[in-house]
Symmetry: C2
Subunit: 373 residues, 2 copies
C-alpha cells in the first residue's frame, strides 16, 4: 500500500504530518510518500526513528493558502503539494492521496487531476458522526457540492451506501434523508423530490430523519443532505460542543475563590480538628476527593474521545477516479495517522468498481423506465 501524504498541508504541518506519517508507516506497514517542501520534511524526519520504514519524499515547493480560491489555486500552482500528490495517484505511482490542507483545493485538484467517475454527476464528501451506540453514522455531502439537484442526492445515497457496506462493514445500510421532520410532508422541495427518487431506487431507503433520530435513536446508518446543509450540520455539532465546554469553563472561573473555598472547606476544617486523628481526617478528605475525581473524569475523557474528530482521521471524497481522504485542518499526528489508515482501508475496499456498477444498474433501470433502453 502506497499512500501519498500532503506533508505541507494543515495547521500543524510539517511537524505533525511527518510524525503522523511515521506512526502510520510503523503501525500499518504502508509506504507513505511525503509530498511537500523537501528540505523541511527531511529536517523533520531526522527527529524520528525511521529505520525499516518506507517514507520517500517528493518535492513540491508551492503551497496553497487558506484564502485562495480553490479552482484558481490548483490551476496556477502546478507544483503545490496538492497537485504533485494527486498526479502521483493519477500516474498509478500511489494508491491514495491524504491532505489536511486547503480542502477546497483537494476537491478542485481531485476533479482536475483524477476526474469524476463515469456517470457520477457530482462528487461527495462523507463525514462520520458519533452515535450513542454502534459504528459512526455516515453523513454526506458535507461540502463538496453546495447546490444540489434531487438526482445528485440519489447518487450520494448510492455511493454512501456502498461505502458504509464495504468500508464500515454495515450489511444493507439504512439510508435516510436529512429533513426538518420525519413525516413525508416535511422537508424542502429538494428533499421531497429526492425522497421520490430514493423510494424508487435500490437503496435501502428508510425515509426522512431528524438529527436526534440518527445521533441518539439509531434509526439509520447513512444520512443524505446537500453539501450546504450537511456542512452546517457538522459545524453546528462542533460549535455546540465548543459552547458547552466554554460555558462550563466560564462558570468554573466565575467565582473561583468561593468555589475553591467550598471545595477546600472540609479539608481545612478537618485539618483544624484537635488531636492526632486530624491528619487522618485530612488524608481521608484528600483521598475522598481523588476517588470521586477518578469516577467523574474517566467517563468525561471517554466521551471526549468518542466525539473527537481525530479518531475518524479524515473524510473520504467519493465519486472521483481515485482514493482521496480529506483530514481536518487542525489534525495532529494521531489524526494524520488515522486518515492514512482510512485511506488504506478505502483502497482495500475497491469502491470504484462497486460504485460504477451501482450507478450503471441504476441508470439502466432509469433508461428502461423512460423507454430508452
Amino acid at each position: 500500500m502506497r499512500i501519498v501524504l500532503d506533508a505541507s498541508g494543515g495547521d500543524n504541518a510539517p511537524q505533525e504530518t511527518v510524525k503522523g506519517a511515521v506512526q502510520a508507516a510503523r503501525a500499518y506497514g504502508y509506504t507513505v510518500v511525503l509530498v511537500g517542501q523537501q528540505e523541511r520534511i527531511r529536517a523533520e524526519l531526522t527527529r524520528h526513528q525511521t529505520s525499516g520504514l518506507d517514507l520517500p519524499i517528493v518535492d513540491a515547493p508551492e503551497t496553497v493558502d487558506m484564502e485562495e480560491v480553490p479552482t484558481q489555486a490548483v490551476r496556477r500552482k502546478a507544483h503545490s503539494s496538492h497537485m504533485v500528490g494527486l498526479r502521483l495517484v493519477q500516474a498509478g505511482e500511489a494508491d491514495a492521496f491524504v491532505s489536511a490542507g486547503h480542502s477546497g483545493a483537494s476537491i478542485a485538484g481531485s476533479f482536475l487531476v483524477l476526474g469524476r467517475m463515469p456517470g457520477v454527476e457530482r462528487a461527495v464528501m462523507a463525514a462520520f458522526l458519533p452515535r450513542l451506540s454502534g459504528p459512526p453514522a455516515l453523513l454526506l455531502d458535507v461540502g463538496a457540492t453546495t447546490d444540489c439537484k434531487p438526482e445528485y442526492l440519489l447518487q450520494f445515497a448510492q455511493m454512501g451506501s456502498i461505502y458504509a457496506e464495504r468500508v464500515q462493514g454495515i450489511p444493507r445500510p439504512r439510508v435516510a434523508l436529512l429533513s426538518n421532520g420525519e413525516e413525508e410532508s416535511k422537508g424542502n422541495r429538494l428533499v421531497q423530490e429526492a425522497a421520490g427518487l430514493l423510494r424508487e431506487s435500490d437503496v435501502h431507503f428508510v425515509g426522512n430523519t431528524e438529527p436526534k433520530d440518527f445521533l441518539v435513536h439509531d434509526v439509520c446508518d447513512v444520512v443524505i443532505a446537500d453539501g450546504f446543509t450537511g456542512n452546517l450540520m457538522l459545524k453546528m455539532g462542533e460549535a455546540t460542543v465548543a459552547l458547552l465546554l466554554r460555558k462550563l469553563a466560564a462558570e468554573m472561573r466565575r467565582a473561583p475563590t468561593l468555589r475553591t473555598l467550598l471545595a477546600l472547606a472540609p479539608v481545612v476544617g478537618l485539618a483544624l480538628l484537635p488531636g492526632q486523628g486530624r491528619w487522618r481526617a485530612l488524608a481521608g478528605a484528600l483521598a475522598g476527593s481523588a476517588g470521586l475525581l477518578s469516577v467523574g473524569i474517566f467517563p468525561l475523557w471517554q466521551l471526549y474521545r468518542a466525539t473527537d474528530y481525530r479518531s475518524y482521521g479524515g473524510v473520504p471524497l467519493l465519486g472521483i477516479k481515485g482514493v482521496v481522504v480529506i483530514a481536518h485542518g487542525r489534525s495532529d499526528a494521531l489524526a494524520i495517522s488515522n486518515a492514512i489508515h482510512r485511506a488504506g482501508e478505502t483502497v482495500e475496499a475497491h469502491l470504484q468498481s462497486a460504485i460504477a456498477e451501482a450507478l450503471s444498474t441504476s441508470q439502466a433501470i432509469e433508461s428502461h423506465a423512460n423507454g430508452r433502453s
Copy 2:
C-alpha cells in the same frame, strides 16, 4: 395586557399550561385568557390559588392532533383552541396568542385569521440561541418558510433586526447570514444572492457567519437562514446536547461496580485503618467527596439552565398582523409562563408599526432604484 393561552396545546396540557398561566398572571399582572376544553381547564384551575388573578376561560372543544396537516386542520376545526384563540386577537379582544400545541397549526391559523402584514412576503419564526456571553442570538427563520427566495431572507433580516432592537434591547443589531464559511465566495446560491441584497439594504449586515462564530465568538446578534436550514440548526444543537448527556450516562453505567469500588476505595480503606482516628479519616473522605461534588455540580447545573429552552419560553412569529408566540411542545409551567411574558414584551414593543415602516422604506428605496418611483 390580555394574553390568550392555548390551554389545550402541548404535551403537558392542561396541567402545565394552566399552572403556567396562573404563574404568569401572578408574576406579571396580565389577564391570561385560557382557551380550550372548558371543563378540563376549570377542574385544573381549582387546584391553584387564583384569588385576585384574572383568568377567564373561553371554550374551544376541538383539538388539533400532531399528525394533522396544518392547513387542513385549521380550516376544518373552527372550534379548535388555535382558531378560537386567534379570533380573539383578531377581534381586538386580546393582545397576543401563545400556544405550545401543533406549531404548524399556529402558523397556518395565524395566516388565515390574522393575515400577513402588508408588504411581508413570508412569515418568519425567530428562535433564541444561547451564547457564551451576552443576550441570546436570534436565529430566523426556524421553520415558518421552508423554501426561500433571496428577497424573503432580506425581509427576515429586517424583521429580526427590529425585534432584536425593540424587544431584546440591542442597539443597531449586527445581522449575519448563516453560511458554510465566512468568505464571500462561500454559501449556496440563495445565500450568495441574499448577501447581495443585504449589502444594499439599511440592515447592519456584517457578512456570512458559521455556527461557532455566533455561538462562541459573538460576531453578530441576528442570524438569517431559510426555514429548512434554520430548523435543522436548532435540532442539531438539541441533538448534540442530548447525545453528550446520554453518552456520559452510558459511560457511567458501563462499569458501575468498578467505578463505585474506585470511588469508595479510599473511604473503605481509611475506615479499615486501625485506631481511633479512622472514623475521622472516614468523615474526612466523605467531606472531601461532598466538597468536590459541590464544585463540579454547581456549574453543570448553571450550564444546563443557560442552554435550557424553558428560559426563553417561546419563539415569536413575525410578519403577521398580531402577536403570536409559539412555545415548545414539551413546555412545562415555567416555559409557559416565560412564553406569556415574552408575548407581553412583544406587544409592548409595538413591532408592527416598526416593521411596516422598515419594509415600506426598503420598498421605496427599491422602487427608486428600479426607476419605478
